[in-house]
Symmetry: C2
Subunit: 128 residues, 2 copies
DNA sequence: TTTACTAATGCAACATAATCGCGTTAATAT
DNA sequence: ATATTAACGCGATTATGTTGCATTAGTAAA
Protein backbone atom coordinates (compact mmCIF):
# COMPACT_ATOMS: atom_id res chain seq x y z
CA UNK A 1 0.00 0.00 0.00
CA UNK A 2 2.25 2.70 1.23
CA UNK A 3 5.34 3.48 -0.76
CA UNK A 4 8.78 2.85 0.63
CA UNK A 5 11.91 4.82 -0.05
CA UNK A 6 14.58 2.82 -1.77
CA UNK A 7 17.95 3.53 -3.35
CA UNK A 8 16.53 2.64 -6.75
CA UNK A 9 13.74 5.18 -6.51
CA UNK A 10 16.05 7.89 -5.26
CA UNK A 11 18.57 7.29 -8.01
CA UNK A 12 15.97 7.24 -10.79
CA UNK A 13 14.29 10.34 -9.48
CA UNK A 14 17.58 12.18 -9.15
CA UNK A 15 18.46 11.29 -12.71
CA UNK A 16 15.12 12.47 -14.06
CA UNK A 17 15.41 15.75 -12.18
CA UNK A 18 19.00 16.31 -13.20
CA UNK A 19 18.67 15.48 -16.89
CA UNK A 20 15.77 17.84 -17.46
CA UNK A 21 14.46 15.76 -20.31
CA UNK A 22 12.49 12.60 -20.95
CA UNK A 23 14.43 9.38 -20.52
CA UNK A 24 13.83 5.82 -21.59
CA UNK A 25 14.50 2.79 -19.44
CA UNK A 26 17.72 1.90 -21.21
CA UNK A 27 18.99 5.46 -20.98
CA UNK A 28 18.32 5.42 -17.27
CA UNK A 29 19.97 2.06 -16.82
CA UNK A 30 23.13 3.25 -18.52
CA UNK A 31 23.30 6.63 -16.81
CA UNK A 32 22.28 5.68 -13.32
CA UNK A 33 24.94 5.60 -10.61
CA UNK A 34 23.95 2.35 -8.99
CA UNK A 35 22.99 -0.94 -10.62
CA UNK A 36 19.25 -1.30 -10.98
CA UNK A 37 17.47 -4.11 -12.72
CA UNK A 38 15.46 -3.38 -15.83
CA UNK A 39 12.17 -4.60 -14.40
CA UNK A 40 12.74 -2.52 -11.32
CA UNK A 41 13.32 0.60 -13.36
CA UNK A 42 10.03 0.09 -15.15
CA UNK A 43 8.25 -0.54 -11.87
CA UNK A 44 9.73 2.58 -10.34
CA UNK A 45 8.84 4.71 -13.35
CA UNK A 46 5.29 3.42 -13.45
CA UNK A 47 4.88 4.09 -9.76
CA UNK A 48 6.09 7.64 -10.35
CA UNK A 49 3.42 8.05 -12.99
CA UNK A 50 0.74 6.70 -10.68
CA UNK A 51 1.82 9.14 -8.02
CA UNK A 52 1.92 12.09 -10.41
CA UNK A 53 5.66 12.51 -9.99
CA UNK A 54 6.41 11.77 -13.64
CA UNK A 55 4.55 11.31 -16.88
CA UNK A 56 4.98 8.93 -19.76
CA UNK A 57 5.49 9.83 -23.38
CA UNK A 58 5.29 7.30 -26.18
CA UNK A 59 7.43 8.24 -29.14
CA UNK A 60 7.22 7.14 -32.75
CA UNK A 61 9.90 4.58 -32.07
CA UNK A 62 7.32 2.87 -29.90
CA UNK A 63 9.43 3.36 -26.81
CA UNK A 64 8.31 4.84 -23.54
CA UNK A 65 9.98 7.94 -22.21
CA UNK A 66 9.51 9.41 -18.78
CA UNK A 67 9.79 12.96 -17.62
CA UNK A 68 9.46 14.71 -14.32
CA UNK A 69 6.20 16.52 -13.76
CA UNK A 70 6.97 20.08 -12.97
CA UNK A 71 4.06 22.28 -13.84
CA UNK A 72 1.91 19.58 -15.33
CA UNK A 73 -0.98 20.49 -13.10
CA UNK A 74 -2.96 23.66 -13.15
CA UNK A 75 -3.74 25.30 -9.82
CA UNK A 76 -7.22 23.76 -9.85
CA UNK A 77 -5.91 20.21 -10.11
CA UNK A 78 -6.72 20.28 -13.78
CA UNK A 79 -4.19 18.51 -15.92
CA UNK A 80 -2.70 20.59 -18.65
CA UNK A 81 -1.26 18.57 -21.47
CA UNK A 82 1.69 19.97 -23.32
CA UNK A 83 3.48 19.10 -26.51
CA UNK A 84 6.65 17.08 -26.51
CA UNK A 85 9.45 17.46 -28.95
CA UNK A 86 11.76 14.80 -30.28
CA UNK A 87 14.91 15.92 -32.06
CA UNK A 88 15.85 13.69 -34.96
CA UNK A 89 19.43 14.84 -34.71
CA UNK A 90 20.34 14.54 -31.03
CA UNK A 91 17.51 12.27 -29.97
CA UNK A 92 16.48 14.47 -27.08
CA UNK A 93 12.86 14.36 -26.03
CA UNK A 94 11.77 17.38 -24.09
CA UNK A 95 8.61 18.91 -22.71
CA UNK A 96 7.52 22.05 -24.49
CA UNK A 97 5.51 24.69 -22.73
CA UNK A 98 3.10 24.74 -25.63
CA UNK A 99 -0.26 23.61 -24.30
CA UNK A 100 -2.22 21.04 -26.25
CA UNK A 101 -5.46 22.48 -27.51
CA UNK A 102 -8.13 20.68 -29.41
CA UNK A 103 -11.80 20.31 -29.99
CA UNK A 104 -13.48 16.97 -30.44
CA UNK A 105 -16.83 16.13 -32.02
CA UNK A 106 -19.75 16.24 -29.60
CA UNK A 107 -20.18 13.02 -27.66
CA UNK A 108 -16.48 12.38 -27.38
CA UNK A 109 -14.76 12.48 -24.03
CA UNK A 110 -11.04 13.00 -23.76
CA UNK A 111 -9.11 11.56 -20.87
CA UNK A 112 -5.56 11.82 -22.04
CA UNK A 113 -3.41 13.39 -24.73
CA UNK A 114 -0.10 12.19 -26.10
CA UNK A 115 1.23 14.74 -28.56
CA UNK A 116 4.70 14.54 -29.99
CA UNK A 117 6.31 16.85 -32.49
CA UNK A 118 9.38 15.65 -34.32
CA UNK A 119 12.06 17.69 -36.03
CA UNK A 120 15.29 19.40 -35.11
CA UNK A 121 15.83 21.31 -31.91
CA UNK A 122 17.33 24.74 -31.44
CA UNK A 123 20.76 23.49 -30.48
CA UNK A 124 21.03 21.18 -33.45
CA UNK A 125 19.79 23.85 -35.85
CA UNK A 126 22.28 26.48 -34.73
CA UNK A 127 25.22 24.08 -34.62
CA UNK A 128 25.01 23.17 -38.29
CA UNK B 1 11.73 0.90 -58.36
CA UNK B 2 8.29 0.90 -59.81
CA UNK B 3 5.53 -0.56 -57.73
CA UNK B 4 3.70 -3.68 -58.80
CA UNK B 5 0.11 -4.57 -58.14
CA UNK B 6 -0.31 -7.65 -56.03
CA UNK B 7 -3.17 -9.43 -54.27
CA UNK B 8 -1.68 -8.55 -50.89
CA UNK B 9 -1.66 -4.84 -51.65
CA UNK B 10 -5.14 -4.88 -53.02
CA UNK B 11 -6.51 -6.77 -50.04
CA UNK B 12 -4.82 -4.55 -47.47
CA UNK B 13 -5.91 -1.41 -49.26
CA UNK B 14 -9.47 -2.63 -49.54
CA UNK B 15 -9.54 -3.40 -45.84
CA UNK B 16 -8.19 0.02 -44.90
CA UNK B 17 -10.72 1.75 -47.12
CA UNK B 18 -13.60 -0.34 -45.93
CA UNK B 19 -12.91 -0.17 -42.21
CA UNK B 20 -12.68 3.60 -42.14
CA UNK B 21 -10.36 3.54 -39.17
CA UNK B 22 -6.76 2.95 -38.30
CA UNK B 23 -5.70 -0.68 -38.19
CA UNK B 24 -2.72 -2.48 -36.76
CA UNK B 25 -0.87 -5.28 -38.49
CA UNK B 26 -2.47 -7.99 -36.37
CA UNK B 27 -5.94 -6.57 -36.93
CA UNK B 28 -5.31 -6.60 -40.65
CA UNK B 29 -3.96 -10.12 -40.58
CA UNK B 30 -7.05 -11.41 -38.80
CA UNK B 31 -9.57 -9.49 -40.89
CA UNK B 32 -8.05 -9.86 -44.31
CA UNK B 33 -9.69 -12.20 -46.80
CA UNK B 34 -6.57 -13.87 -48.10
CA UNK B 35 -3.58 -15.16 -46.16
CA UNK B 36 -0.80 -12.62 -46.07
CA UNK B 37 2.41 -12.97 -44.14
CA UNK B 38 3.12 -10.62 -41.26
CA UNK B 39 6.30 -9.23 -42.78
CA UNK B 40 4.50 -8.65 -46.04
CA UNK B 41 1.74 -6.71 -44.33
CA UNK B 42 4.29 -4.41 -42.75
CA UNK B 43 6.08 -3.97 -46.05
CA UNK B 44 2.83 -3.17 -47.81
CA UNK B 45 1.79 -0.69 -45.14
CA UNK B 46 5.14 1.04 -45.16
CA UNK B 47 5.07 1.31 -48.93
CA UNK B 48 1.62 2.88 -48.68
CA UNK B 49 3.05 5.45 -46.28
CA UNK B 50 5.94 6.19 -48.61
CA UNK B 51 3.52 6.70 -51.44
CA UNK B 52 1.21 8.92 -49.43
CA UNK B 53 -1.62 6.41 -49.61
CA UNK B 54 -1.72 5.86 -45.85
CA UNK B 55 -0.24 7.31 -42.74
CA UNK B 56 1.09 5.80 -39.56
CA UNK B 57 -0.06 6.53 -36.04
CA UNK B 58 1.79 5.35 -32.98
CA UNK B 59 -0.50 4.82 -30.02
CA UNK B 60 0.24 4.72 -26.31
CA UNK B 61 0.39 0.96 -26.48
CA UNK B 62 3.48 1.43 -28.60
CA UNK B 63 1.83 -0.19 -31.58
CA UNK B 64 1.66 1.16 -35.09
CA UNK B 65 -1.70 1.83 -36.67
CA UNK B 66 -2.29 2.70 -40.28
CA UNK B 67 -5.05 4.71 -41.81
CA UNK B 68 -5.97 5.68 -45.31
CA UNK B 69 -5.04 9.22 -46.32
CA UNK B 70 -8.12 10.98 -47.47
CA UNK B 71 -7.73 14.68 -47.02
CA UNK B 72 -4.35 14.58 -45.38
CA UNK B 73 -2.92 16.98 -47.90
CA UNK B 74 -3.85 20.57 -48.40
CA UNK B 75 -4.32 21.82 -51.95
CA UNK B 76 -0.81 23.27 -51.95
CA UNK B 77 0.85 19.96 -51.15
CA UNK B 78 1.16 21.09 -47.57
CA UNK B 79 0.62 18.37 -45.07
CA UNK B 80 -2.06 19.05 -42.53
CA UNK B 81 -1.71 17.01 -39.39
CA UNK B 82 -4.85 16.06 -37.57
CA UNK B 83 -5.61 14.57 -34.20
CA UNK B 84 -6.33 10.93 -33.76
CA UNK B 85 -8.64 9.47 -31.21
CA UNK B 86 -8.36 6.17 -29.42
CA UNK B 87 -11.41 4.86 -27.61
CA UNK B 88 -10.58 3.06 -24.40
CA UNK B 89 -13.87 1.19 -24.58
CA UNK B 90 -14.08 -0.14 -28.12
CA UNK B 91 -10.43 0.24 -29.05
CA UNK B 92 -11.16 2.10 -32.24
CA UNK B 93 -8.55 4.51 -33.49
CA UNK B 94 -9.92 7.08 -35.85
CA UNK B 95 -8.80 10.23 -37.61
CA UNK B 96 -10.42 13.39 -36.32
CA UNK B 97 -10.89 16.39 -38.50
CA UNK B 98 -9.41 18.56 -35.79
CA UNK B 99 -6.20 20.05 -37.17
CA UNK B 100 -3.09 19.99 -35.03
CA UNK B 101 -1.99 23.49 -34.16
CA UNK B 102 1.05 24.44 -32.19
CA UNK B 103 3.80 26.93 -31.74
CA UNK B 104 7.34 25.94 -30.96
CA UNK B 105 10.16 28.00 -29.45
CA UNK B 106 12.21 29.90 -32.01
CA UNK B 107 14.95 27.79 -33.54
CA UNK B 108 12.91 24.64 -33.52
CA UNK B 109 11.88 23.03 -36.77
CA UNK B 110 8.95 20.64 -36.91
CA UNK B 111 8.85 17.88 -39.50
CA UNK B 112 6.15 15.63 -38.18
CA UNK B 113 3.37 15.49 -35.62
CA UNK B 114 1.90 12.46 -33.92
CA UNK B 115 -1.01 13.52 -31.74
CA UNK B 116 -3.33 11.07 -30.10
CA UNK B 117 -6.23 11.79 -27.81
CA UNK B 118 -7.56 8.99 -25.66
CA UNK B 119 -10.97 8.65 -24.09
CA UNK B 120 -14.38 7.34 -25.01
CA UNK B 121 -15.98 7.80 -28.38
CA UNK B 122 -19.48 8.96 -29.19
CA UNK B 123 -20.86 5.48 -29.79
CA UNK B 124 -19.50 4.13 -26.54
CA UNK B 125 -20.73 7.13 -24.56
CA UNK B 126 -24.29 6.97 -25.86
CA UNK B 127 -24.54 3.21 -25.47
CA UNK B 128 -23.93 3.23 -21.75
C1' DT C 1 3.79 -15.47 -76.60
C1' DT C 2 8.14 -15.97 -74.74
C1' DT C 3 11.79 -14.01 -72.17
C1' DA C 4 14.25 -11.13 -68.93
C1' DC C 5 14.30 -8.31 -65.03
C1' DT C 6 13.49 -7.58 -60.40
C1' DA C 7 9.69 -6.20 -57.11
C1' DA C 8 7.32 -8.72 -53.94
C1' DT C 9 6.56 -12.68 -51.07
C1' DG C 10 6.97 -16.41 -47.33
C1' DC C 11 9.60 -18.13 -43.92
C1' DA C 12 12.70 -18.19 -40.27
C1' DA C 13 15.75 -15.79 -37.58
C1' DC C 14 16.68 -11.79 -35.20
C1' DA C 15 16.28 -7.55 -32.35
C1' DT C 16 14.18 -4.92 -28.96
C1' DA C 17 10.75 -3.41 -25.57
C1' DA C 18 8.13 -4.38 -21.80
C1' DT C 19 5.87 -7.41 -18.52
C1' DC C 20 5.31 -11.19 -15.19
C1' DG C 21 6.00 -15.04 -11.77
C1' DC C 22 8.48 -16.16 -7.98
C1' DG C 23 11.65 -16.63 -4.37
C1' DT C 24 14.42 -13.36 -1.67
C1' DT C 25 15.63 -8.92 0.43
C1' DA C 26 15.00 -5.00 3.02
C1' DA C 27 12.10 -0.69 4.42
C1' DT C 28 8.95 0.54 7.89
C1' DA C 29 6.08 0.33 11.90
C1' DT C 30 5.08 -1.84 16.06
C1' DA D 1 14.01 -7.06 18.03
C1' DT D 2 10.25 -8.71 15.33
C1' DA D 3 6.58 -8.85 11.94
C1' DT D 4 4.71 -7.32 7.75
C1' DT D 5 4.92 -6.83 3.04
C1' DA D 6 6.66 -3.43 -0.53
C1' DA D 7 10.29 -3.76 -3.42
C1' DC D 8 13.84 -6.28 -5.56
C1' DG D 9 16.69 -9.40 -8.92
C1' DC D 10 16.46 -12.89 -12.02
C1' DG D 11 14.84 -15.50 -15.68
C1' DA D 12 11.27 -16.54 -18.63
C1' DT D 13 7.79 -14.84 -21.53
C1' DT D 14 5.10 -12.01 -24.65
C1' DA D 15 4.75 -8.78 -28.22
C1' DT D 16 6.11 -5.87 -31.95
C1' DG D 17 8.60 -5.08 -35.76
C1' DT D 18 12.63 -5.85 -38.95
C1' DT D 19 15.88 -8.37 -41.89
C1' DG D 20 18.28 -11.97 -44.87
C1' DC D 21 17.51 -15.06 -48.28
C1' DA D 22 15.68 -18.23 -51.50
C1' DT D 23 11.54 -18.37 -54.35
C1' DT D 24 7.56 -16.49 -56.80
C1' DA D 25 5.27 -13.66 -59.83
C1' DG D 26 4.16 -8.85 -61.97
C1' DT D 27 5.54 -6.12 -65.90
C1' DA D 28 7.38 -4.80 -70.05
C1' DA D 29 10.28 -5.62 -73.85
C1' DA D 30 11.73 -8.75 -77.52
MN1 LIG E 1 6.07 16.53 -20.62
MN1 LIG F 1 -5.24 10.20 -39.58
ZN1 LIG G 1 18.67 18.25 -31.14
ZN1 LIG H 1 -15.62 3.57 -28.63
Amino acid sequence: MKRRNTPAKEAVLELLVKSQKALSQDAIESQIEIAVNRATIYRVLNSFCEDGIAHKIVAEDGKQYFSICKKCKHPEEKLIYHYHFRCLSCGTIECLKTPVQYTVPSGYQVEHANCLLTGTCKDCNTNS
